[in-house]
Amino acid sequence: MTQRKAVASSTFALTLAVLAVPASADTLRLLTWGGYAPENVVAKFEEETGHTVEVTLSNNEEMIAKLRATGGGGFDLAQPSQDRIAGPQEEFGIYKPIDLSKIDTSLFIPSMLEATKANTTVGGEIYGVPHVWGTSGLVVNTAAAPGVKDYTDLCAPEVAGKVSYRLKRPTLIGFAFAMGEDPFAAYGDEAAYTEIMDKVEAKLIECKPGVKTYWSGGDELMNLVRSGEVVASMAWDTGGWKLNADNPDITFVAPASGALGWVDTFVLPAKGKADDVAYEWINFVMRPEIAAMITEAAGNFTASKGADEYAADDLKARYQASFPPEALDNIKWYPPVPAGLEAIEGGVLDRVKAAN
């Protein structure tokens, strides 16, 4: 009898142990991009505050999907792009408002902070503050493909079979701009947006035979360009600058129709358990000297005021070569994506993928 009881109670205890996930308030579970929480920064933060940081690497879509699956739980701080906050928040309610009084706003570049606040406001509450920003455009081997100046040049016969891009929304937006459309102006008008996307779809299907492959990860693209199998591709600026360090012919080119500008932010997931540590982390990494360490790891500049002074000279030189002042003014910053737009784009992407 007692033996049976013991077995039953130990089964019960085991079940409890499996179900109850231990939560420690001193751990910051950070959902971020590669390079945004380099080891030296994490070590410094842990040493200074005594907290521990658990880093999970991801991308925009996966961050939102992960938070949606748990209703905003599992992480204490996430870093989606600023255009992907308002839509998912309205639709799924996966974030909680940021208390700006707990953030040292003097550490931020004011214009960038204001723009991000405006783009991430839902129902009068602010949900995001800026962290890292950059652009996407073209990575070109200027010796092998001197003619590639804009997204649509990727379809030119001279480079057929040697180009690559992602089959994702930045490609649709970039091609729309290069074709003389303004997709951002049509964001609020589903019919007009569908019309633009139809044109882009036709163009992408026409270009498909000349595409080597649709890349899906940064490292895959690096390999393709480094080996010379691909001479021109859509890519992030940092990818181009990294390749430039190995081969001076390859560099990032801001497209004639304008590079696409993104800002990755800090947001608090709705069921985060360590908000105070999250605020501490934000204030810590926005310090100019720490922000410079992140710039060195990620290759992108941050919204931290005065961090540029600490940045390495060769990175600055590459940045200035890719962005003459007029190209800098021509950057198209992503406005917030309205909920439901992804469905239209999804149909286009599926059809392009299926086309022969």
Binding site: T15, E61, A65, R68, L167, K212, G228, E345, D350
Partner: protein, 285 residues
């Protein structure tokens, strides 16, 4: 005493039942409910079969499914054709250490993850890869040859990935066939072909069927191999499900696709069993 036995049975079954209900049955019910929702506005949903109708009315999705199913069947067939002689050699001709060594050779690639194996194939097949370079060095090609990013590359990857799952059941069933029976077949005047057709293959049928089912399901549900080796034309049904869930935030359609995959693949397996005159009970029992 009887009560004791029952408690024992319940305790033994509990982990299995917990596993099945918590990790398989409940998520599937939830998934089914999600697949019946239709988004009508921001955060607003209603119950409707719209997602299933989308699958039936959009030729793209039907075509993708058909393509995936046919490629998976072809992969199963090729795997069987390659694995059968290999298994026969291991089970009936090789002896002692050679046999263990051969079996181990089949096993070794599975000690590394599928991702690494697929990357291995990418290194071999790509334009600046090993095979292309070798061909040029041998003078058989005068410029780099691209062997990656097409259906043949997907097929190679799928067959390689599922080889073990065909070899193991085949070796097991072939081992259980006594050598004397084969000898008797020859003694009674059988030729190589007739012995194979009348004795070996009928005996190996349970292994062939179960191997085929496993390989077919594995190929149909594979995500990594088709996406990585297939490149721009790699359309695969699991890829559609992934992109609906992760990229498009359209869980409703993704869930419907998931269910359709489960349903249609079960249907195909059932149909194939009927077509070849087998039942699942006889194969597994």
């Amino acid at each position: 005493m009887k009560a004791e036995a029952r408690i024992g049975l319940i305790l033994l079954l509990t982990p299995l039942l917990l596993w099945l209900s918590l990790l398989i049955v409940i998520p599937h019910i939830d998934m089914f409910l999600v697949s019946l929702r239709e988004r009508v506005g921001v955060g607003e949903y209603r119950i409707s079969p719209a997602n299933y109708l989308t699958f039936l009315t959009e030729p793209l999705y039907l075509r993708t499914f058909a393509r995936t199913a046919i490629m998976a069947m072809l992969a199963t067939l090729i795997t069987l054709l390659i694995a059968f002689p290999v298994s026969y050699y291991i089970a009936k001709m090789a002896r002692g250490r050679t046999r263990s060594a051969l079996f181990l050779l089949c096993l070794v690639p599975f000690w590394v993850s599928e991702l690494v194996r697929t990357f291995g194939w990418m290194i071999l097949l790509r334009e600046t890869g090993l095979i292309s370079t070798l061909l040029q060095w041998a003078g058989l090609a005068d410029q780099p040859v691209e062997m990656l990013y097409n259906d043949a590359a997907i097929m190679v990857g799928l067959v390689y990935t599922s080889m073990l799952f065909m070899v193991v059941p085949l070796v097991t069933t072939l081992e259980s066939l006594p050598d004397e029976v084969i000898e008797a077949g020859y003694d009674l005047g059988g030729t190589n072909v007739s012995v194979m057709r009348e004795i070996v293959i009928p005996h190996a049928t349970p292994g062939i069927v179960s191997g085929c089912i496993v390989v077919f399901m594995l190929s149909l549900g594979n995500y990594l191999t088709p996406t990585m080796l297939g490149g721009k034309d790699s359309l695969w049904f699991t890829e559609l499900i992934y992109s609906q869930f992760i990229v498009r935030f359209n869980w409703e359609l993704g869930a419907a696709f998931g269910f359709l995959l489960l349903l249609l693949s079960s249907l195909i397996v059932w149909g194939m069993l009927r077509l070849t005159g087998h039942t699942l009970e006889r194969t597994m029992g």
